[in-house]
């Protein structure tokens, strides 16, 4: 029986079409996984169902009747609850207060805590959990907090519970508990929409799976009928290996040497080097210290110990200006807040690092600035309406090209790139990969920090793996495989390919 159906949903944001003509149906009592790459539109769809976004066009049917969901209370009334990846709890309040915050029992403006805690206890018992109604949320573990969110959804009597990447922050043990809860909810006839990047979970848990790609609906399949390879193909739209092909290139002199780099409580004894023409990946789980290592090389963090040498010369990097001066460029993972200057024009964004070089008598030369823009537009093929267009109105891929071009314009030959393809669409991804390949052929040395293993495996000559602030793997292209990288990343083994120095 179809409990909820969306028909021809469209949603645009300034500059992007997040969803185009998407139609999906969800059955009662199923676990329905929704998958797709970053930027495919999964979260947008879920936010529309949850009432956080309003749709531009299309309809939502609940039990066959059209439902007007324009706000989160609307969605709750229709029986839809969303549990976001970043949990929305009031940390200093108790479990009971959080669950019933919108509907506190009481009289004459005073909360009746006895009734409140009793109701909460009933909910907790229904799932067989071990938390107490009077526990303060901040004292609970992440998985327990997630359970509180689930209880909150149950308290609203929601028929449909949407979970956005629920396992992202959980340990293996906790994931098992969550699975148990989800199966129980399913047995009670609830519908679970499960968004995840981890395809294994989809096969473990889901009955059916829907795939979105670039804001379009690709299809819904019974999980029993497809395998992982087929699913990936649906997500990517083509065989991923055809998107980009690695070609061997000549390695040159060592350009960056990092030795014994250490930052307390982040990483220690980090030693590696980059050669001209080399694209080196840096893999590791969240919180392993990758980002901190990258930021320390660029001077955004100050390392406590260790040396950095560029082109064989030891350099002191205390702030990003020093790194730029020494030819180290950086692309942040947080493009929107720390990469672009949203309200400034594309031209101003490009030349931010080199204003001194294009100034005469301290006045910025508009002509030279335009020349720089033309040069990089030619090299990197950015698409923009005019040089005075605000960068915030470009697509993520084009913004990313500008952020990268900013480092190139400052004549940086060593590039440290954090998640260079995060939040950009598939086509732009392939373009970025090609760009990086071109750059490495021109003698740039590139370090790519990425959470996406397929990305590292397809573009990198060599991969460093970080576990708990230490380098546990240095794996050459020929020996790279997903399992080996994961074992190094979880500390299960260390692997250093023969014949390559760190």
């Amino acid at each position: 029986m179809t409990v909820c159906e969306v028909k021809n949903i469209c949603k645009s944001f300034p500059g992007v079409k997040a969803l185009t003509d998407v139609s999906v149906a969800f059955e009662k009592g199923e676990v329905h996984a929704v998958v797709g790459e970053n930027g495919a539109g999964k979260s947008t769809l879920m936010k529309i169902l949850g009432g956080a976004y309003s749709l531009d066009s299309g309809t939502i049917l609940m039990d066959g009747k059209e439902a007007a969901i324009r706000s989160i209370p609307d969605a709750l009334r229709c029986g839809i609850s969303v549990i976001y990846q970043e949990l929305n709890l009031m940390k200093s309040l108790t479990v009971a207060e959080n669950i019933f915050v919108s509907d506190l029992p009481g009289r004459a403006g005073c909360v009746n805590y006895r009734v409140l805690n009793q109701r909460t206890q009933e909910l907790i018992d229904s799932l067989g959990l071990k938390i107490k109604p009077s526990d303060t949320v901040s004292m609970l573990s992440v998985s327990e907090q997630q359970m509180v969110e689930i209880l909150k959804a149950l308290s609203h009597n929601s028929e449909i519970i949407i979970m956005d990447e629920p396992t992202a922050a959980l340990s293996t043990q906790e994931v098992e508990t969550l699975y148990g809860i989800i199966r129980k909810l399913k047995a009670d006839g609830k519908t679970i929409l499960y968004i995840s990047h981890r395809l294994r979970e989809v096969f473990d848990l889901a009955d059916r799976v829907s795939v979105l790609r670039d804001g379009l609906f690709v299809g819904t399949k019974n999980v029993a009928e497809i395998d992982e390879r087929k699913l990936v193909e649906m997500m990517v739209g083509r065989d991923i290996s055809q998107m980009y092909t690695y070609t061997a290139r000549q390695l040159g002199e060592t350009m960056l040497e990092v030795e014994g780099l250490e930052k307390k409580e982040a990483f220690t004894g980090v030693t590696f080097s980059l050669k001209a023409g080399e694209v080196v990946g840096m893999a590791g789980l969240m919180g392993c210290g990758r980002e901190e290592i990258a930021k320390s090389i660029y001077g955004l963090l100050r390392a406590d110990a260790g040396t950095i040498a560029v082109n064989g010369k030891a350099v002191s990097i205390r702030r990003p200006a020093d790194a730029i001066k020494n030819g180290i460029g950086f692309v942040t993972e947080d493009r929107k807040d720390a990469g672009i200057f949203a309200l400034m024009t594309v031209r101003e964004n490009l030349t931010m690092n080199i204003l001194r070089l294009i100034s005469k008598f301290r006045l910025i030369s508009g002509k030279k600035e335009q020349e720089v823009l033309d040069e990089y537009t030619g090299r990197m093929d950015m698409k923009y309406a005019s040089e005075n267009q605000r960068i915030m109105n470009l697509s993520g891929g084009n913004q990313q090209k500008f952020v990268l071009a900013r480092a190139l314009a400052a004549n940086c030959k060593v590039l440290v790139l954090c998640e260079p393809t995060r939040g950009i669409d598939v086509g732009a991804k392939a373009e970025v990969y090609r760009l990086l390949a071109d750059l490495s052929r021109q003698g740039y040395a590139i370090l790519v920090i990425s959470s996406e293993l397929p990305e590292i495996m397809s573009i990198c000559f060599r991969t460093l793996v970080v576990y708990h602030g230490r380098i546990t793997g240095n794996i050459l292209r020929g020996e790279m495989d997903e399992n080996r990288i994961m074992r190094c990343a979880t500390g299960a083994e260390t692997y250093f390919s023969e014949g390559v120095g760190l």
């Binding site: 955004l300 200006a321 990469g339 672009i340 949203a342 400034m344 006045l363 005075n388």
Partner: protein, 366 residues
């Protein structure tokens, strides 16, 4: 010229259009005296003090900061200026105005030109120091600008009372008639019917415009207003830039304080109450977002003229001056709600376009 015009986004000039509309309206209503040069001169006169400070404040707000100490700073610098003039004069101020001969027959010299020059320079330097202090408090001691400049507001105002002994001082007491003529000209003189101080404001605006649009300092200012993180990653010296911006504002306040002192020919420590808010109002009316990241000096100046026009013309139209605050406040609120209204219209436009597209697609399917 055409190249420059091409760069202008005419949608960003709303306050300028509002100013023109207001003027046309006043002409159409045939406001008594509005078409006289003298009325325009007083509009320009009032606008110039706000405008000069507005240039510095535009930079400050574009960097996501603001300075609420400038009213007190104006008072302190004005008082410093007259106290300095007093100190450099050989004539005791307590005697009758205009008497330049001592009872024993010795003629007072008033202020020697070196003394005048020194008074100008020291006052400007004081402005720079006041601004520097604000900048250091914000950038180095990491005090939020709201608190830092609230603190200095009290300090500056208190210092103003201290240097004057809390008395108003009239400048013509301490100088000869000829010398007073110079100051009078700075304050009220006109070239081609336009007040001298308006020319100074134009010069300050051009200087500020060059800083904002053509110099690294201006770019860095906007960059910091957009994203401190991204600015740091671009190698911008954030603290240095912040300090420079506040210092520059102090410099402009110094100029405005001198011109104003010459205009009113006196200074008293309680003057310019809430002046900071008048200036902030003009800057944000000019479209410089309090959230930082963009700014236009031209629009700030237009807004200063707009406010000055209201101040001057309301009495001409027979409107009770008590309405001044109400009208000013309402315009500010209106200007800000218009931003949100425009945004909503934009959102609706996108939605409508999407709906149309969906309809065509549905038609194609059918």
């Amino acid at each position: 010229m055409i190249r420059v015009l091409k760069k202008v986004d005419f949608r960003d000039l709303i306050i300028f259009y509002a100013l023109l509309v207001l003027w046309l309206l006043l002409v159409a209503l045939d406001a008594p005296g509005f078409r006289q040069f003298s009325t325009f001169a007083s509009i320009m006169q009032i606008a110039s003090f706000m405008g000069i400070c507005g240039v510095g404040m535009t930079l400050c707000i574009a960097s996501k900061h603001f300075d609420q100490s400038i009213g007190a700073m104006m008072a302190l610098l004005g008082c410093t200026f007259v106290v300095l003039l007093q100190a450099f004069s050989d004539r005791p101020p307590q005697e009758t105005v205009g008497v330049m001969v001592r009872p024993d027959g010795v003629v007072y010299m008033g202020i020697p030109w070196q003394g005048m020059l020194a008074a100008f320079l020291i006052t400007i330097a004081m402005g720079v120091i006041c601004g520097l202090l604000n900048g250091v408090l914000v950038a180095k001691l990491r005090i939020p600008a709201f608190i830092a400049t609230l603190g200095t507001l009290y300090v500056f105002r208190g210092s103003a009372y201290l240097v004057t002994g809390s008395n108003p001082i009239v400048i013509n007491q301490v100088m000869t008639k000829d010398q007073y003529g110079i100051f009078n000209y700075l304050g009220t003189g006109k070239i081609l019917h336009i007040p001298f101080s308006f020319y100074v404001m134009i010069a300050c605006a051009i200087a500020g415009g060059i800083v904002l649009r053509k110099m690294k300092l201006g770019r860095d200012t906007l960059a910091i207003g957009n994203s401190v993180e991204a600015s740091r990653a671009s190698g911008i010296h954030i603290d240095k830039t912040k300090i420079l911006i506040f210092t520059l504002l102090g410099f402009f306040v110094g100029i405005a304080a001198i011109l104003n002192t010459c205009f009113v020919a006196s200074a008293n420590p309680g003057m310019f109450p809430r002046f900071e808010f008048d200036v902030i109002t003009t800057v944000v009316l000019g479209g410089t977002a309090l959230a930082g990241g963009k700014g236009s000096i031209f629009n700030s100046i237009s807004a200063a003229l707009f406010i000055a026009t209201l101040t001057v013309c309301m009495p001409l139209l027979g409107i009770n001056p008590y309405y001044d605050g109400i009208i000013r406040g309402s315009i500010l609120l209106l200007a800000f709600s218009s931003n949100e209204i425009r945004r909503q219209i934009e959102v609706q436009r996108i939605k409508a376009a999407a709906r149309r597209e969906a309809k065509t697609r549905a038609a194609q399917r059918a």
